[in-house]
Amino acid sequence: MSLNPVRTTLDNGVTLLVKQATTTPAVAISFSMRAGSIVDPAGMPGQTWLLSRVIDRGTATRSAAGISEELDSRGITLTIIITRHLFSIGCRCLSEDFEAVLSLLADIVMSPSLPGDEIATRKGEIITSIRQDDDNPAIRASESLMALLYPDGHPYGRQTKGTIDLVEQFSRDQLLKLHADRFAPSELTLAIVGDVDPVHAGDAVARVFRDWKKPAPTAMRVSAVPAATERRRVVIPMMNKAQADIAYGFIAIARNDPAYYACWLMNVAFGQYAIGGRLGDSIRERQGMAYYVSSALDANIAPGPLTIRAGVSPANVDRAVASIDEEIVRLVREGLTEKELDESRQYLIGSIPRSLETNAAIANFLQVEQFFGLGLDYDARLPDLLRAVTLEQVNDAARRLLDPDRATIVIAGPYEERSIG
């Protein structure tokens, strides 16, 4: 079974992917604009985030209250997500509401009015949210790790929400300029999945977007960052907390790296398979030290990180870090077994139908397919791509990405460094 979505490109450059699925009388609509946090102007991290909080609070022809009413009366929640590269707006709606909701989303994306009072209110929410993050050991550990791996204001290392001082200063004009500079038809991909006829969906999209004409913005380049050459360890004491969070990572690979599938399989066996792969087996199952431990590979346009995260009692921090070190050394020295590779491979191949069950999941998959240029038949080709990976390639991937002597480690929580060095 293959998804076989219908892809069309409008004259102005908007890309549309449609997949009909009639499981429920509902449709998932997903807009992805290539305008994630990397487009924040220099020295202004957080502007895109603020834009994402106000973009749906008024347009040239709709008030904030009017939009709220249109959404709420249909039971719709807009999900607006900012990643490093993408500004995504999505929702689920009943099929009967499809056209009306599509028009509303298009209006929001093309003509936001960004009212001043709304900006002021949403700034308050963001500032509170930054303060909450400051009190959250898991977020502190992860954000600090990214800032250490990607230093000097690199777009992958910046705080997506910005800082309180900066957020307070952002002006409506700056947000209007950001929108004018970066939102353009050439940057937009729509994925529409659900109980809607592809021809009908295509006509509706053409109707709402055909008059939107803007030149393509200059492409943003994200530079690669050299990998760490030594082990670094940073402690953020938060003595008011009960549990410590560990973030332990490396700069890994870009999505288009030929070793991507080997790295993916390696990461699954190392830190995901069943509960947390080899890491989970050691730290949670055998030693009973943590409720959660796992690793994640975030291959991106530029090389993204491989991050290991664990939440442990403060008394177990040193033992948990030592166990992560040991598992890495063992993996690099001895490699995975053929059985472990087969298990991870079988798992990933077998989980494809499950990961493509809901409309929203398919829409997300189509967006990834489009963003990384993987091809419309990617879901059908994926099993063979995974089958082609050899044990040697997986073990090469481990040797290439993992090394305790070059690890960057952040510990946040009720823990203090007892000795330096």
Binding site: G75, Y273, S351
Partner: protein, 422 residues
């Protein structure tokens, strides 16, 4: 949907859904934290953890991977009325999923070393939860709202109980509640009902029923006055929480309150497994307008779950930097007083119903979510409640909402919690 019962008392619910080559199997037990006596709080949840650690016929080292090789996902959860386990995988793995659940019901090991090692994992889970001030406040508000009923203690348990519970406590509890006459098995997906039923009989038919379980008789006495508590801790953000004693899933006031919650904070739906993953449509909801749009709060939410006994309807507010707990509480009280006095409008009622209608459709978008709902409702009352829900929602009247608002939002029925950062 076919509902049947094996001779040993096991209820079986099977629903065919042929849209994807998948099947979801859930095994539900009528045991949750309300079945725990003092000194053993957290035992239901700890048993859930132990039931992933190998059985007589699935050695410990083979648990890992037993369902993953079919691309499957598995999980489990414990709450106040229930403990449940699930696998969703290729439908070709149905027999394997049934085998795992039959082993879990009858043959878990509870090795003493595993019990000890899991103690620290669970304490780590508890401490991770305590890192979140809002969760801590929720725990304290719930404990303050209940004087008699065991809904008052947290499902994860109190720390001293987790430190002292023994392997025999755990195993005894497991043997008492993990019997076919206390369970519901649900299968939804790309299966043939007759064949699936034959496989259920094959795996579960020989498991002996246990003695009838004596059920909790405690009824929480009516609350006679407002209760308040304040937590003061080093932190950055203030949180406010209201808890009102709420009707159970079978109480006639449940659906009017569900509508009222939609008017106040936006409709969530009725699926605990999926509804809370997507925030509710709430921008025109009364409490959002009163608190968030006015800059007093960065978020407001309401929570009402279908439960076997009367639990709580809670409202949670994250107070904005620069605003005060007192000002947020005053605004919340004003909005609630208005609805208590005047009820809701015809337009609000229509909008709440439209929201719930959409959410119920969205909640049925996967075999996993459908199977959850069938088993959840059968465990807290009856699967019929699930089928009736759309009609019950559609039938709610303005008067019923007004009556529910007056009965439930009365100040004497309220517990107020403040988390004040120091």
């Amino acid at each position: 949907m076919r509902a049947t019962r094996l001779d040993n008392g096991l209820k079986v619910l099977i629903q065919e859904e042929h849209t994807a080559p998948l099947a979801s199997v859930w095994c539900w037990y009528k045991v949750g934290s309300k079945d725990e006596r003092p000194g053993l709080t957290g035992v239901s949840h700890w048993c859930e953890h132990m039931n992933f650690k190998g059985t007589t016929n699935i050695p410990r080292d083979q648990v890992k991977g037993i369902i993953e090789k079919y691309g499957g996902a598995w999980n489990g959860y414990t709450w106040i009325d229930q403990t449940t386990y699930l696998e969703t995988a290729m439908s070709a793995a149905l027999d394997r999923m049934l085998f795992i659940e039959s082993e879990r019901m009858a043959s878990c090991l509870y090795h003493p070393d595993d019990c000890d090692s899991e103690r620290t994992v669970i304490i780590s889970e508890l401490q991770g939860g305590e890192n979140d001030p809002d969760q801590l406040l929720d725990q304290e508000v719930t404990a303050t709202a209940f004087k008699a009923h065991p809904y008052g203690h947290p499902t994860i348990g109190w720390l001293p109980d987790l430190q002292t519970m023994t392997r025999d406590d755990l195993y005894g509890y497991y043997r008492r509640f993990y019997v076919p006459n206390n369970a519901t098995l649900v299968i939804v997906g790309d299966v043939d009902t007759d064949e699936a039923l034959r496989r259920v009989e094959h795996h579960f038919g020989a498991i002996q029923p246990g003695p009838a379980i004596e059920r909790l008789r405690t009824v929480e006495p009516p609350q006679t006055g407002e209760r308040r508590l304040t937590l003061r801790q080093e932190a950055t953000t203030a949180y406010l929480k209201f808890g009102y004693h709420a009707p159970s899933a079978t109480d006639p006031n449940f659906y009017p309150l569900l509508i009222l919650d939609a008017v106040l904070t936006g409709a969530k739906g009725l699926n605990l497994w999926s509804s809370f993953r997507v925030p509710p449509p709430q921008r025109s909801a009364r409490l959002y307008v009163a608190l968030v749009d006015r800059g007093l709060a960065s978020s407001v939410s309401g929570s009402l779950a279908p439960t076997e006994d009367p639990f709580l309807y809670t409202m949670s507010v994250t107070v904005n930097e620069g605003a005060t707990l007192a000002s947020a509480e005053a605004a919340l009280l004003e909005a609630l007083a208005d609805v208590e006095r005047n009820g809701v409008t015809e337009a609000e009622l229509a909008k709440a119903k439209a929201q719930l209608r959409a959410r119920l459709v969205f909640d049925n978008d996967s075999v996993t979510n459908i199977a959850h709902q069938l088993g959840y409702y059968e465990t807290i009352g009856s699967v019929d409640l699930f089928a009736e829900a759309p009609g019950r929602i559609a039938a709610v009247t303005l008067d019923e909402v007004a009556t529910a608002a007056r009965a439930i939002l009365a100040p004497s029925n309220r517990t107020v919690g403040w988390f004040e950062p120091q």
